[in-house]
Structure formats: C-alpha cells, structure tokens
Subunit: 349 residues, 2 copies
C-alpha cells in the first residue's frame, strides 16, 4: 500500500513537471531576429485611408521579409540591415531616400548611420543630396574610411569614389513631399506675420511637430549572434540652417553593441541628441542590468519628460525586443527566427 | 585622583579631535571651479622649446583667469566656458578659431559644441568657415534656435542672423598650420606611391596620428552649482570628405549634466564617437555610482583598448575633477574656488 502510494506520488510529480514544461514552452518569448520602424507621428486610424494603410503594411512586410531572407541565408546582420533599409529608402512612402522631405530651400538633404555591434565600428553621412541609398554611404564610411561621420559635398565625393549609385537630385522629388513643403512655407509666412517685430521668433524657425517624423530604421540579429543597427532619414520638412538631427549621430539616433542591444530612433531629433538616447539604453542595460524592454521604455520616458516625442526600436543579442513610442502611432514590425512577421501602425493595432 | 584622570582623558580626546581636524583640513581636496584643455598629443619636453612652453603656459593661465573672473563675478558657467574658450580660439597656438588647421582643400573648417548641465540644452556647429568664434555659434544654436546641431553654410547663415562676428576666411590663416598641411600633403603623395594599385588605401586617407589633435575645451562650475561644458576645434590637418569628429557631437566629445559632470574630450575623434565617451562618463557616474575620476579613467581606458588615443577633462558639481589622457602630454589646467591656477603640459609636469 505504502509502495503503491509512492509510485502514485512519483507519477503525479512527473505529470506536474510535464504540464509545467508545456505551459513554459507555450509562454516562451519568441526569438526576434529583426525589428524595423518607418517613423513615428500623429498616425491615427481615422486619418488614414484603407489603401494607404495597406500600402504601408505591405512595405513593412517586404522590408522584414528582405531582412529575414538575408539572415536565414547566413548573411551578417549588417547586410540584413542595409538590404532592409534599401527597401524603405526606395519606397516614396517613407521619409528616407526616395520620399525624403524637402528643406526650406527645396532640396532633399539626407542623413544615415549604421553600427556594427560586434566591432563597435560605425559610419554616418549627413546632408547628402545625390546618393541613392544613404545607408550604403554610411556603411562605406564605416568600412572604407578611417572616419565615422562625413557631411555634405565631401561625403558625396567619398560615396562616388566608393562606387555607390549617384543620382540626379530630381530622383528624390515626390509631389506629396513638395506639397508638404509648400504647406509648411505658408504656415511659416503666417507665423512671420504673427511674430512681427520679434527677432527671436525668426531665429527659432518653424515649430511644426509633424514635420519632424518619418525616419526609417532596422536592427538585426544574425545567426552568428551579431547585432547591427541602421537609421536613414530625409530630416525635417522646411529644414533650415543645415540642421542635423539625431539619426546620423552615433549614440543619439543609432547604436549597436553585442553586449547590450542594437537601437534605432525616430522622432523629435533634438531631444534624442540631448538625451543621448540610443547609447543611454545600452548604458542602462550594461550598468544597471536592465532588460532591453525596461531600458527602452525608460529612455522614451526621459524624452517625454523633457517635452519631446517619438519612438525607437531595440533588439538584444538574445532576441528580446522593444518598440516603445509616445506618439499616436509608429510604423513598425518584427520578424522572429521562425519567419513570423508582424507589422503595426497604430497604438492599438 | 579619578576626577583628574577624567579631565586628562577629556583633554586628550579634544586634542586628538583637533589634530585630526587639522590633518583633514590639510588633505581636503580643493574645490575646482574650472578645468580646461588645449589638446592632447605627442607633447614631450625635449620636443618643445622653452619659449613655446612659456607661451602655452601663459595662454592656459589667461584662459583659466578669464573663467575664474567670470565665475567669481557671479556669471553662469555657460558664460565662463564661452569667455574662456574665446581666449583659446583667438590664440593661434591652439587648433580652434584662429590657429585652426587646414583641410585637404586648404580651408579652415571648424566645429564646436556647448552644453548646459542645468537644462541639458545643447548647441553645436560643424564645418563652419567664417565664424570668428565657433563656440559662440554653438551657444547661439542652443539659445536662439529649436535645433541642437547645424552644419556648413546653413550654420553660417544662422550665425549671421544671430549677430555673431563674421570674418573673411583669411583671418584663420597661420603660416605654421599652412606648412603643416603642405607636410601632410607630401606624406600623402608618398603614401599614394607606396599604395599604388590599391583602391582601398586611397579611400582610407591619411593616417597621421599627430594630425588629429589640438582641440580646446572647458568645463565650469558656477556659484549657483551649475555645470557647463564646451569644446572647439579646427579638426584634422588634411581632413577630407567633410569629416566630422567628436567635438560637435553631444555625448561623444561634449556633455554636461548637473547630476553627474561636465566633460570635454580631445583626441582621435572617431574612437570618441564609437565609445560615446562624454556621455559614458556621465552614465557610469549615474548608473554605477562611480566617482568622476574613476569614470573618466575608465572611459579613456576603453578608448585605449580600442586603439585610440587622446584625453579629456571632467568636473562634477561638487568640484571634483579629472584630466586623464593616454598620449605623451595634454595642454591642461585647473582653477580652484580660491583662485589657485595650475597648468600642465607633459605627463610628468
């Protein structure tokens, strides 16, 4: 009798272990291998047509599929990030490459950065106007020069020497972005009338929150366990004075370190620079042992507390990710190691 | 008898307390209110004439006296940093403002940044060629625009509107710097012959370690307890491709936060960008509760481990400072709240 009871006890114990294991397997977090964003802003369901929404979802899906294919075929995360961002740069829906917004002078001036989490090497370009894919120029700066950051005509001369595709600046023209500039210019002149007599406001320029968003970015984790992060942007509509935002600044808009995470930011760049947001996430993970999700949320919290808005994506070397934002929405998506793609636009998607 | 013994005991105790107090007062760390640097590099006693050494020591002393006077008269740390850096920018001995080195094309392209530790506001300019005092342009970006960073002709247009002193680019010509460029160009052509047939090396550019140094910077702590940090540089001799170094990058070459420290870096900029050095010191202080000295040394250690060299200055809100470097020397100096000025050049000064 006692013996039978012992057998029963042992069987019950094994059964409990088995059930617990199944439950654990079912709730096990998926391993993400790529996270992307296509910009944050006042994106609400009622302000977006079904057609436009479908086009964005298709573009995000294509970008993620491209990155997934690169990683699954054994390519390094840098290749996956570059190829993924190409699809977003080549699509006029996003404010990067083809689709970049216009500056005050009616030009398209683009910025991009990329970082290798294995070596902590990085490259960036700012204010480039003739390079078809600025993310590839950033990668060339990283791999084919001693430098990290190049700007303007010098960066373009370098890109030509590095063999990148150079286009006529007209390539970047899109009617939607041109109309956006005209609208911003009209608002500027209204503002100038309202501000008549105040020299300060002339210097302060346009404060149009929606002009600041639309950057694209990707973070990838390859089969060798290496992280890479990249960001590409057309900057702000009606941008003046050669303004540089956070995207091409290593530590602010872009950062990657295998020991912590890869990060790409989008939003009101000035607040991301002042908070050194991308590196701050890495620092909180390294020095305070925070998870990538906790660190990413804390970083967005700091931006918000200072009055800034936007979002970011972060992916650590174990495949945990976070995509926090404090705007109405953010174009974003993920793909797991088993190829499951998910894309989101709104807060409650 | 017992009573007398008690009195003797009490007297002995008081004497010990008094002596301990004197000893404590004597070893008490001085409270620093400003730390400056004028660049790090291969500075050795045998390579420097007595005249040149005296000129550098006089210039560093003047800079510190200027900052001290500003702080003692109750001005904010931002004013002290700006006024101090003006003296260094206006002196042809330093690679900033008058005295800036020449780019490959024979131009003087300057970068500068400033940050307010109280508000975490920041401003920076990159690649400017006609602004007499780039540090003031950085401050104007911070205070008179919505932006943090501006580059090239756009930054210059803004500086004109902000009422800054604009000069003919010839103002920045100095024979010593021009000769430095000619030397670098000759070394370039020798290198080109040696590298014949390798496209890669053409893209890699000149690797002349000594061309990278000479930035100036200051960190100040004012009577209200607020920190500010600023950095100004002429960049690299024979600089190509619109390269931007760490000086104008908030988080890399310049950072200030009352909660931690103000930091200004000098050295091989690319390594400072990749390590996000200035903000990393702040992060180690905030998240790991390290002292400013420990954090500053750890940060220079990371730069060195990666193959980079240079130095930095850091000052916390309690008046503790550090001036680590891993080069042969660094032009540097400090002033305490009681006006004691010390300047140093070599490793063992």
């Amino acid at each position: 009798m006692i013996k039978n009871f012992r057998v029963f006890e042992a069987a019950l114990f094994l059964l409990i272990c088995l059930l617990a294991n199944i439950a654990f397997a079912q709730t096990k977090e998926p391993k993400y291998i790529m996270v992307i964003h296509g910009g944050a802003g006042t994106l609400t369901r009622k302000n977006m047509s079904a057609e436009k929404e479908a086009a964005y979802r298709a573009a995000l899906t294509l970008a993620l599929q491209t990155g997934y294919n690169a990683i699954k075929s054994g390519k390094p995360s840098l290749d996956a990030v570059e190829a993924t961002i190409h699809t977003l740069e080549d699509n006029p829906l996003f404010n990067a490459g083809k689709g970049a917004v216009f500056t005050h002078e009616g030009r398209n001036e683009m910025d991009a950065a990329i970082m290798d989490g294995k070596t902590l090497k990085a490259g960036a370009v700012a204010g480039v106007t003739v390079i078809k894919n600025p993310i590839s120029a950033a990668r060339a700066v990283m791999e084919k020069s001693e430098h990290v950051m190049m700007a303007g005509p010098g960066a373009e001369a370098f890109a030509r020497q590095a063999g990148l595709t150079i286009v006529n600046p007209k390539y970047f023209y899109t009617k939607e972005r041109w109309d956006g500039l005209q609208k911003a210019l009209r608002e500027d002149s209204v503002k100038a009338v309202l501000d008549h007599g105040s020299k300060k406001s002339m210097l302060l320029g346009t404060l149009n929150r929606d002009n600041k968003f639309g950057t694209v970015g990707a973070v990838a984790l390859d089969l060798a366990g290496n992280l890479a992060a990249g960001t590409s942007t057309g900057g702000m509509t009606n941008k003046k004075y050669g303004r540089i935002g956070d995207s091409p600044i290593i530590g602010a808009g872009t950062y990657a370190n295998n020991a912590t995470a890869g990060i790409s930011c989008t939003g009101w760049g000035e607040f991301y620079i002042r908070n050194v947001v991308a590196y701050d996430i890495s620092a909180m993970m390294e020095y305070k042992h925070m998870t990538v999700a906790d660190a990413a949320h804390a970083a967005i919290g700091k931006v918000g507390a200072m009055g800034g808005d936007g979002g970011l994506i972060a992916l650590d070397a174990r495949g945990h990710m976070a995509m926090p934002f404090n705007t109405e929405g953010m174009y974003r998506g993920t793909v797991t190691e088993d190829g499951k793609i998910e894309v989101f636009i709104f807060k409650k998607d």
